[in-house]
Symmetry: C2
Subunit: 304 residues, 2 copies
Amino acid sequence: MKLYRLGENELIQWVTRQIRTDRSVVRGIGDDCAVLRGTGRNLQLFACDMLVEGVHFRRRDPAGAVGWKALAVNVSDIAAMGGLPRHAVVSLGLPRQIPVSFVDGLYRGLCRCAKRYGVNLVGGDTVRAAQVVIDVAILGEVEKGRVVYRAGARVGDTLLVTGRLGGSLRSGRHLRFSPRVREARALTAQARLHAMMDLSDGLRQDLPRICQASGVGAVLEVTKIPRHAGCSIAQALTDGEDFELLIAAAGRDADRLLPWAKRNLPCGLHRIGTVVAAKPHSVVTLVAPKGTKIPSSLAGFQHF
Amino acid sequence: MKLYRLGENELIQWVTRQIRTDRSVVRGIGDDCAVLRGTGRNLQLFACDMLVEGVHFRRRDPAGAVGWKALAVNVSDIAAMGGLPRHAVVSLGLPRQIPVSFVDGLYRGLCRCAKRYGVNLVGGDTVRAAQVVIDVAILGEVEKGRVVYRAGARVGDTLLVTGRLGGSLRSGRHLRFSPRVREARALTAQARLHAMMDLSDGLRQDLPRICQASGVGAVLEVTKIPRHAGCSIAQALTDGEDFELLIAAAGRDADRLLPWAKRNLPCGLHRIGTVVAAKPHSVVTLVAPKGTKIPSSLAGFQHF
């Protein structure tokens, strides 16, 4: 069987079943970051994200923006757990004929993002490759009482999302987005969030991941999804690469967070749905006022 | 300017100059691992190594051996600092048409290496790519009193190497080598080593790195280099991918370690040279008994 027939979710599930870890691992494969027991009061977060030319960026994109994105997608994984990014290592696969100016730009972008988010770039590897490949691994930390997993959403919870969705690739926003570290920290300081993740593959693919991890279903009010200008509901659901936060919180906490966010979160916070009991064949139900057009086949981006 | 004209050493030096880190970083870019201040008595080690199809392995190599190597080269980086490997994350770039059996084999090899060396595989990323790319990032730990850097070799030190060198790629040894974790731990328990690194690019390229980091020179007795059967001196110097340990230790410690190693290190430990004062234009001097043939142009493998 060829890999693309298996799909990314199945690949991850199948890998996860094969792996055993020891007691120092609080959470292994399957969340935005691995969670490791530290020696102090904090937990350690560990994750990696690989960008490939032609998939996540194009050679003609500004190298600085590509470098920024390579670290920012990892910082976003730390944000999704409620943590603070600390250290990163960078592996670069580079064609021999690539101009040094491209590599220079790449590092400037990496450094700019590192400085903005307080990340130490502490190591790396550079190897020859047919296409530009950038893999960043990141370490972060989070207080034991403030870590937020994908699993933890409860029936009756309100679903919230930061910022606006849709059109990230087309507009170039995917190359210059701001990971929601400050926003996640502010939210976990205000309330005990039940579940959180960052939206990389689009709501239509990512929301079922929270549902599956939590053993719940969801009702999504599609007209409530905050959209970027010019984006349809379908685009907001499926475009991906928004790197906004998807959150499940108790209804009373959401009621308190929404007005608080109006004053304190410039990116905005929106109620988009409700967590319901799991159903056997439909994890997420889309609802909309009569007359709203929703394409029948909504599917997000699959890597394979 | 094209990248291949700059070279790997220059690229690393140039990147390092641009980067600032905070007080939690004991050692950043430039050693086998980054060294981070932990909260307890131990230091944390952090490194990454990327393998690319056609450079570090071929598609027709056994997938299990490729998976083993992908983790083993990282475990070797931890060994080179005197540490113990703990956790790893794996990013995989995979062509859509690759058989699932290859990916299965890859993970089996990764898991086999993880089990052997006590590494928790805790996360990863899988993306589409034109060629198979495997990047592993690893976390390890080491007691403050036992960490060994590349910098630290002193004039008068004896240079030692574990195992035998040469022919690793040709023989396929590079796909099934054993990282020298146990050996490094045993050696640092016996003596305070001054400098250490693992030999990935060949003695001819790697020894100057210890010299440069330590501000010293070296005299290498080429006939003393332990070679694999059928390997010439030139091959032992330049083939690379041996993943043996290169060590600088005080003469009196080396005198004690060598007979001890005969009883306790099955892979062997050999004296191959001496650390001398730095000279302006020749970091490493090769010496050999009269009549020994040494090719005049000895250069190791350069990635670009």
